[in-house]
Amino acid sequence: MAKTVLLIGTRKGLFLAESDDRRDWTMRGPFGDGWPIYNAILADDGTLYATAASEWHGAGVWRSGDLGETWEFSGEGIAYPEESGLKVNKVSGLAASNGRLLVGAENIGLFESRDGGKTFSLLSTLEGASGREVWNDPSMQPPGHLGLSSIIPDADDEQKIRVVVQGNSTFDTEDGGKTWTPKNRGLRREWPAPPDPEVGFCVHKLAPSPVDKDRWYQQNHVGTWRSDDGGANWVEITEGLPSQFGFACAAHAHDRDTFYTTVLDPMHTRTMQNGECAVWRTRDAGSSWEKLTNGLPSQNAHLGVLREGMVADRQDDFGLYFGTSTGQVFASLDEGDSWLQLADYLPSISSVRVATLA
């Protein structure tokens, strides 16, 4: 039987939840010496990585080659040339592909490691990307200071990488980071457009379909969108949702038209509306939405879910998971029809990732 491991990044370290049946879970942690964790992955070679940033000691990546038994930290090479005037305040985005590790930073930059996370080198500061001239201005940076918050490398071509710059849009490179092209056509904003109208969108989370490379979804600051051409153009699918604001979302593991999002009150609370925990599902690519609440707390549940807080595994009867700002983790094994709470009293959760071990 496959073993499922949830990698739960929190404000106070990384936790690992493990299960053979995805119903009974055992929890280990906190790992990473209790550093704030922004994302975590289990790479194909079995190494765990977690992006972390300490108020005291800066930013770097924790790694474990034995599923959390022992850990090492490295920030070696995660720095900008002194003459650039840039500082690494945080690392958040994290991906592994084609034998390398990619890490996103604030100030905005993309770093890579080709030795399993021991050392890093600067791949790109996205120099030349439209709008970049304001990204590292502290007065222009969005709360959270995630910087390069998401990295989605092409599985077949390491020259191709898609990234999200927090508060400033999605960009693609097809030449290994030398040049960057905005991928935001069709998105909407509710603030003044910058000089280039193709940038300046507040993309919170991209969710590509695992079964159709052309089908993507995104939850952003002002709505929910779908792309049918790999992200070149976006169509708004917000209608039917009770709020346009949200962070976390996930695509169905096997059906391109099914997608999940967790919308929130857009005001200061940024928690689920009316104290009722709900996940929203579309089975028709956004034409209609269903509210999923069975097993979720229905009252006095003032919780949020951050952008990396929801994930689906790839098993045949796939599991869907999300972690909350108040330290709960919920799971569904029936496509969202019902939910189980598998953890509580964790520190505020930043990310939930999943791995299936044979």
Binding site: W56, H57, S74, A79
Partner: protein, 87 residues
């Protein structure tokens, strides 16, 4: 030799790093550079490139707040503090 006292939060990052040790150094910056020579990467955990001390890393020489240029004497005590406000 100055008597260097390091924060406990550094220990998990560097194998064999003690909390207290004696370092031959003329300034705080020299002391941190010597620590970095012995435990590569340690300076990056205390300083931004430049180097300059990270925002929440404070140093005290014989009880007085200092910076990287502050001289340390043969019998100085150098405290490196991981300091942050909060509750």
């Amino acid at each position: 030799m100055c008597d260097v006292h390091l924060p406990s939060t550094l220990k998990p990052l560097f194998a064999g790093l003690p909390r207290h040790l004696d370092i031959e150094a003329a300034t705080v910056g020299d002391a941190i550079a010597e620590l970095d020579r012995r435990w590569p990467g340690l300076q990056d955990r205390l300083c931004h490139p430049g180097p300059q001390l990270r925002k929440h890393i404070h140093v005290y020489v014989d009880g007085d707040r200092g910076d990287l240029t502050t001289p340390v004497g043969d019998r100085s005590r150098l405290d490196v503090i991981a300091a942050i406000s909060g509750g």
